[in-house]
């Protein structure tokens, strides 16, 4: 993970500030930085989204491809995650430097989406045991400014909301072989229900309190963090502790309560912005990367 070096006095200043609920940029312990969300930025994907949280910039693209269902779940489709930490983000990611972080994020995303209730995978099935939709979710880290996991989960949810899967119908021949027919209308597609898609909330322990949405400087002062994935109605789907410090069971419980509260507001804010973008329709001016 990209990190900054701080002097002892600077770290002390940050820790004392968090104790008094006034962080360096004036935020409280439970405030997020201003986020910018835009969907449909990559034209050759089935769905895409870009999220800018302070200095953290994430691009997610979702491609829907036809594949064979897994043996243990013959009537469901599935998701595949791949995370690419580009060298644009920080020089540490040059060459194969970003691979470790990339695989850590990908495995976290797999565990977040592991519970069956997050996405209706049965709707991705075309022919049981033969054909199903596989959603390849590709995450690209453009800039690293702290709080990667939260921004990535917001972008994944926005991209899944934006995904349009073409409608197919299965025709049976006289010989019994099945043929898949794509509908002629390119706008005829199915959308995914993302109501139960969780968002990750990272709670970093600094001193005796915990903060949400830590910047790079704050991450340098924190010894342990808790990654919680929360759905919009407050249910947890996964939890992971990172960092070399230890966490008290009582503080874990407090962090979980904060995570639930913050997670619910996060979902409400994201859904509001996605609905607002949707309501602008095709007349929306796409800002993209050159705005």
């Amino acid at each position: 993970m990209a990190s900054v070096v701080l002097s002892e006095a600077e770290k002390l200043y940050i820790v004392h500030g968090v104790q008094e609920d006034l962080r360096v940029d004036g935020r409280g312990c439970e405030d997020y930085r201003c986020a910018e969300v835009e969907t449909d930025v990559v034209s050759n994907t089935s769905g895409s989204a870009r999220v800018k949280l302070g200095h953290t910039d994430i691009l997610v693209g979702v491609k829907a491809e036809m594949g064979t269902p897994k043996l243990e779940k013959p009537d469901e489709g599935y998701l595949e995650f791949f995370v690419d930490c580009s060298a644009n983000a920080t020089p540490e990611f040059e060459g194969r430097g970003g691979e470790e972080l990339g695989s850590e994020i990908a495995s976290t995303l797999y565990s977040v989406f592991s519970s069956g209730s997050t996405i209706d995978l049965k709707s991705l099935c075309i022919n049981p045991r033969e054909h199903c939709w596989v959603l390849y979710v590709d995450v690209l880290l453009l800039e690293c400014g702290g709080n990667l996991f939260d921004a990535i989960s917001l972008a994944v949810k926005a991209a899944l909301f934006n995904t349009r899967i073409p409608k197919v119908c299965v025709l049976e021949d006289e010989e019994g072989s099945k043929e898949i027919e794509l509908s002629d209308d390119p706008y005829d597609c199915i959308r995914l229900n993302v109501d139960n898609v969780p968002c990750i909330v990272t709670l970093s322990k600094i001193g005796y309190r915990h903060v949400v949405d830590a910047t790079l400087q704050e991450e340098a002062c924190c010894l342990a963090s808790l990654l919680i994935s929360v759905t919009s109605n407050g249910a947890f789907t996964s939890m992971k502790k990172v960092g070399k410090g230890s966490l008290d069971p009582e503080s874990i419980f407090e962090m979980m309560e904060t995570g639930k509260r913050v997670g619910k507001s996060l979902h409400i804010a994201l859904q509001k912005i996605l609905d607002e973008e949707e309501s602008l329709g095709t007349s929306r001016q796409k800002v993209g990367f050159l705005g």
């Binding site: 070096v5 002097s7 006095a9 200043y13 500030g17 360096v24 004036g26 997020y32 201003c34 973008e277």
Partner: protein
């Protein structure tokens, strides 16, 4: 209660011609022809090709009699003797420290250019060399002055005055060096309750004003007392104001920072970083600065 604000991105509006003194600036991008007149001498940021003078960096063209040079907007810090810089120690070597100052090469702080605690003046011994890490460690921030420049462009620093030395508690903001205005003094005690060091290399250090001037300390004893909440609010507000000024590419000097602080008082500290509030504050600051000049 958590406050989370999300928004749709807004395309940057092309900035209208602002009423700046000195008339229109000739802006160039790398590869643009500056002039085809061969009578000019080429300065920094230009090169000669096919009898044409072409810019190699993106910036404004400056012409002094027969010398043409291009001053880039975003560049690494180019040291000049006498500049005040704020730097971070990256390495502790045998008789010197390597300091990161946002320039092309790490700057150098020699042990002999450093003040000993107590202000003693003596030859540096082997014990001093072994105790270097007790004075300055990797990650420490210092304020120093540029003593000289090596032939390869690396800057040599010195802290041979009691106002320079290790920095204590505070906040560092990193901006582009071209946005820091050259002034007589770069150490300011702002009337709003905090002090600021405007390093020429783009590192801005905001810290609580020390109560009494410890002349003997010379910056070696760091004050590790918790900073009171009122001072913290001033420092956070100043930090956000500086970020707002930098986003809108305004020159940073004590008056502009102070005007921006005053313009931001009606807003909450964390709201200053919202794009619409930032624009409003910077517009007001720009207006006051123009009124001051005109």
């Amino acid at each position: 209660m958590a406050t989370i604000s999300m928004r749709l991105p807004v395309a940057r509006k092309p900035v209208g011609p602002s009423a700046s003194r000195g008339g229109e600036k000739h802006l160039v991008a790398p590869g643009d022809t500056i002039t085809t007149d061969t009578g000019y001498m080429r300065g920094h940021g230009t090169y000669l090709e096919d009898e044409k003078l072409i810019a190699s960096v993106a910036g404004a063209v400056e012409r002094v009699n027969k010398l043409v040079c291009v001053k880039a907007l975003k560049t690494r810090y180019n040291g000049e003797v006498g500049d005040i810089v704020v730097g971070r120690i990256t390495e502790v070597q045998q008789k010197r420290w390597k300091v990161e100052t946002n320039s092309r090469l790490d700057s150098v702080l020699l042990l002999s250019s450093m003040n000993l605690p107590g202000g003693e003046l003596r030859r540096r011994s082997a014990e001093d060399e072994l105790a270097m890490r007790d004075y300055l460690q990797e990650g420490d921030l210092i304020s120093a002055e540029v003593q000289s420049i090596f032939s390869d462009g690396a800057v040599s620093l010195h802290t041979r005055s009691l106002k320079y030395g290790k920095l204590g508690q505070g906040v560092l903001v990193q901006v582009s060096p071209s946005l820091v205005k050259r002034q007589k003094t770069h150490f300011h005690d702002l009337p709003c309750g905090a002090s600021v060091i405007l390093g020429n290399n783009g590192f801005i250090w905001i810290y609580p004003t020390p109560e009494q001037k410890d002349e003997e300390a010379g910056g070696f004893t760091t004050n590790l007392e918790p900073v009171p909440l009122s001072d913290r609010e001033v420092i956070s507000r100043l930090r956000n104001c500086i970020v707002a000024l930098v986003t809108h590419k305004l020159m940073l000097f004590d008056t502009s920072i102070l005007y921006c602080y005053e313009a931001s008082l009606p807003h909450q500290i964390k709201d200053i970083l919202k794009p619409e509030v930032m624009e409003e504050i910077v517009l007001e600051t720009r207006q006051r600065l123009l009124d001051l000049e005109g």
